[in-house]
């Protein structure tokens, strides 16, 4: 299947790096959009003892609504948020890969409950990652146990599928998870460099991609979003790019990131720090790099994605890519 006249047009970026807390993300690990108001929740992981840890609440228009939760191991606190999902009531579910648990907050940010501990048994986790709510069930990608666990939205363990391996239905450190309009489930099978598609009960339907840096190939894919037309948007983490695939897995396009403009948070910052603003005027964003290591290339070229870890779609044909080491997300319009 071929797709013509498909374009991704860069719109803006949202984010800012600071170890002082406030309006900024630090090493964000996940994000999700609340449907009712379009508010975007960004899981900021921060430095080990930083004030940034929690869920930063922003909009695509660079509004900042504050932060939910704080660093800590107690109930209602978090260390390294790694997956987010909303239920019908817009309660928010947060996976924490450091605390090996899932926490739930209501729409106003009040802590409701949490469950899970480190381990391999039912209801235990080894670095939980992506979350998905489908038909009032919570799917948790249990990354280092190489499985998917399914719970009721009140935390009752229901079932699980998957084990470590590379055959159909097996996983190697899976990360992101999503579903399509049919209710089928897609999982970024990180260590196997592929996307796997399942029925909601875990029956394998298809696999897409293989190891490599070519078109349609992956290097440790971190996350996937699927549009209503079936197109797949994959955060190709190790290749430092976004790939767009047709429903059948054929390649459409890729993007390495284009964050060239100063978002309003930056403008305000540079207005306050004149010596950096003046030096920034000499800043060359793109130059010929002398390495072929994608991670190092992204470390040098600021407009590029650096460790794109999450991808989202909204109802307005926009795609969002979260970059854990550039402390921002980039937004594109699908045309």
């Amino acid at each position: 299947m071929t797709t013509t006249n498909f374009e991704l047009n860069y719109i803006t970026n949202v984010g800012f790096s600071s170890d002082q807390g406030g309006r900024s993300f630090q090493k964000p690990g996940c994000f999700a959009i609340r449907k009712s108001d379009g508010r975007i929740f960004v899981g900021s992981r921060g430095p080990a003892a930083g004030p940034n840890v929690g869920l930063q609440m922003v909009s695509v228009d660079h509004d900042w609504f504050g932060k939910m939760s704080e660093i800590g191991r107690g109930e209602g606190q978090m260390m390294e948020p790694s997956g987010l999902a909303f239920d019908q009531e817009e309660n928010i579910y947060v996976a924490d890969e450091s605390l090996h648990r899932v926490s739930v907050f209501d729409r106003d940010g009040e802590f409701l409950m949490c469950w899970g501990e480190q381990g391999t048994g039912p209801g235990q986790f080894e670095a939980p990652a992506g979350l998905l709510i489908l038909d009032e069930k919570l799917y948790v990608v249990d990354a280092r146990n190489h499985r998917i666990q399914i719970f009721s939205t009140s935390g009752e363990f229901l079932s699980e599928w998957g084990s470590e391996g590379s055959k159909d239905g097996e996983f190697s450190y899976p990360w992101g998870i999503t579903s399509d309009t049919n209710g089928d489930v897609y999982i970024a099978d990180w260590g196997n460099d592929r996307i796997q598609k399942f029925t909601f009960e875990g029956e394998h339907i298809a696999s897409y991609g293989k190891s490599g840096s070519g078109e349609g190939q992956f290097n440790r894919p971190a996350d996937i979003a699927v549009a209503t037309d079936g197109k797949m948007y994959v955060a190709d983490w190790g290749n430092q790019r976004l790939q767009v695939l047709n429903k059948d897995g054929s390649f459409i396009t890729l993007n390495k990131g284009e964050a060239v403009e100063h978002n309003p948070w930056l403008v305000e910052y540079f207005d306050a720090v004149q010596d950096e603003k003046k030096a920034r005027e000499t800043f060359v964003r793109y130059f010929e790099v002398d390495t072929d290591d994608p991670h190092e290339i992204s470390a040098r070229l600021e407009p590029y994605f650096w460790d794109p870890c999450n991808v989202l779609l909204d109802d307005n044909d926009r795609v969002y890519v979260l970059e854990s080491v550039r402390h921002r997300f980039q937004v594109f319009k699908i045309n």
Binding site: S17, S18, G29, W190, G191, R220, G238, E276, W306, V325
Partner: protein, 485 residues
């Protein structure tokens, strides 16, 4: 039966593996003995594969390692993980050597990543031609920013790098003039990094804002290079940086300086470097042999190393245990004895902290002069740190390496018992073998006599045996012999 001859061979092999690596586990020593001495030297000199470091998992789950910005323990931790896990130890040992000689620190740079990348450069080029190493060093972004060469312009030179490449990195004091420094600095004008102004201010202001770390890349600006005629060490021409390196490297003072550094690091402690112009080398003939190897091989560092490891002056009993282990050698060697570490754990960072507490903060040398080594490593506080660290690691009988040591101690006996004297001798043997003085041996045996004959015939006695082994191993590594390489 252990013959005198193969006991001597074993001691020599253990000496090689302490100096060209970080000591050996009993299994590594067995393998080396099966290869033979010269073949082992050849293997150490010719690593044929990269270390298997799971960077993807580390970047995913260790957010402090993901950009290596630091300046906390993470940048050192990523190197420490490799030091502990490598099966190409001489290559890593050479990284330590160059780090000590070309000391660059993220104390000034504020970020760890460029220094980690400098260590990567040492790993790639560190056993090749010295000319190439100096050219790569001169292009290294961490070194450029460390010694301000981004401020070395055609119209306004900055002498820092010109001075240090002559004084600290190649020839040593007394072998060049102040004019040579200026002229060498002129040769390196225009050797800078991409975005020098913006990256300098980010470094000076210590900010990650707005979008985190930007990795530095070398950039040569021909427009900013002084194209005039220069005279360096008596040679006149329109020299650029590569020419300056070529002129420096063909000078005998460079060969002698490098030879003495290698001798100091691999053979026996020399006095601190500032004393070298006044104090003759400990073994002038050995230095001559290394100088010859340097010139005969076209300035090849690997050839100098081969000369060292296959020479009589290296094999002599008089130089064994004649060097005080650096903190990095002590910590890495002890960790390697204990077995593999989890890349997602804090063990590597804790090992970096231990080194720092003993006086060697990896990637954060005290100054551009690096660490002098030798007796500078030892003072009361540092010695206590060493003893506590080694004891803590070796008493953990759950670690795979320690379990292997204990099992090998047991295997020394044909029955399920051994006397306390045999027990001590066996523990010393599996730890190196470690040669200790008669006094130390007696002290250990007196201590172990409280256990009487040791047995492991049932679970209870085996548990007691393990505890005793943990205690004796801890006691052995607290002795001064374990601090020597």
């Amino acid at each position: 039966m252990t013959t005198v001859s193969n006991k001597q061979d074993l001691a020599l092999m253990a000496h090689l593996l302490r100096r060209a690596g970080f000591g050996a586990t009993p299994a590594e020593l067995d393998r080396a003995m099966s290869l033979g001495y010269d073949a082992m030297v050849d293997e150490l000199l010719n690593p044929d594969h990269d270390d298997n470091v799971p960077f993807d998992k580390i970047r995913r789950w260790r957010k402090d390692y993901s950009d290596l910005r630091g300046p906390g323990g993470a940048p050192g931790g990523i190197w420490m993980y490799r030091l502990i896990m490598t099966d190409t130890p001489l290559r890593e040992k050479m990284c330590l050597f160059w780090h000590r000689l070309f000391a660059t620190g993220h104390t000034k740079l504020i970020q760890g990543r460029p220094v980690v990348r400098q260590i990567d450069m040492f790993r790639k080029h560190g056993m090749g031609s010295f000319d190439n190493i100096l050219v790569e060093l001169s292009k290294d972004p961490a070194m450029i920013m460390w010694l301000d060469n981004q401020d070395n312009h055609a119209t306004n030179i900055n002498e820092n790098y010109g001075r240090e490449i002559l004084e600290l990195f190649s020839m040593g004091v007394g072998n060049y003039t102040e004019d040579d420094i200026k002229e060498t600095a002129r040769a390196f004008t225009g050797w800078s990094i991409v975005n020098p102004i913006y990256n300098s201010i980010k470094m000076n202001n210590n900010v990650m804002r707005p979008f985190g770390y930007l990795s530095w890349q070398f950039q040569y600006n021909d427009d900013d290079h002084d194209h005039g005629e220069k005279t360096i060490l008596g040679e006149t021409g329109n020299w650029n940086g590569e020419d300056a390196v070529r002129i420096i490297c063909k000078n005998e003072a460079t060969a002698r300086f490098l030879a003495r550094h290698l001798y100091h690091f691999f053979v026996a402690d020399e006095p601190p470097v500032p004393a070298w112009p006044m104090v003759e080398p400990r073994d002038p003939e050995a230095i001559d042999a290394l100088v010859n190897a340097y010139f005969e091989s076209g300035h090849d560092v690997k050839s100098m190393l081969e000369t060292i490891f296959k020479s009589d002056f290296f094999k002599a009993e008089s130089v064994r245990y004649a060097r005080i282990k650096s903190p990095a050698e002590m910590v890495v060697g002890t960790m390697r004895l204990a077995g593999s570490i989890d890349p997602l754990s804090n063990e590597a960072n804790q090992a970096v902290d231990a080194c720092a507490n003993m006086g060697q903060s990896l990637l954060r040398p005290p100054s551009v002069e690096g660490w002098q080594g030798g007796t500078d490593w030892i003072n009361t506080g540092a010695y206590v740190e060493r003893v506590n660290f080694a004891g803590k690691i070796l008493k953990n009988t759950d670690k795979s390496g320690i379990r292997d040591l204990i099992n090998r101690v047991k295997a020394k006996s044909t029955s399920s018992t051994m006397s306390s004297d045999e027990f001590v001798d066996s523990c010393l043997e599996v730890l190196g073998p470690l040669e200790v003085t008669e006094g130390t041996s007696r002290g250990l045996k007196d201590y172990a006599s409280k256990y009487g004959d040791l047995s492991w015939s049932d679970e209870a006695s085996s548990t007691e045996f393990d505890k005793a082994a943990g205690s004796i191993l801890q006691l052995i590594v607290s002795g001064h012999e374990y601090q020597m390489a």
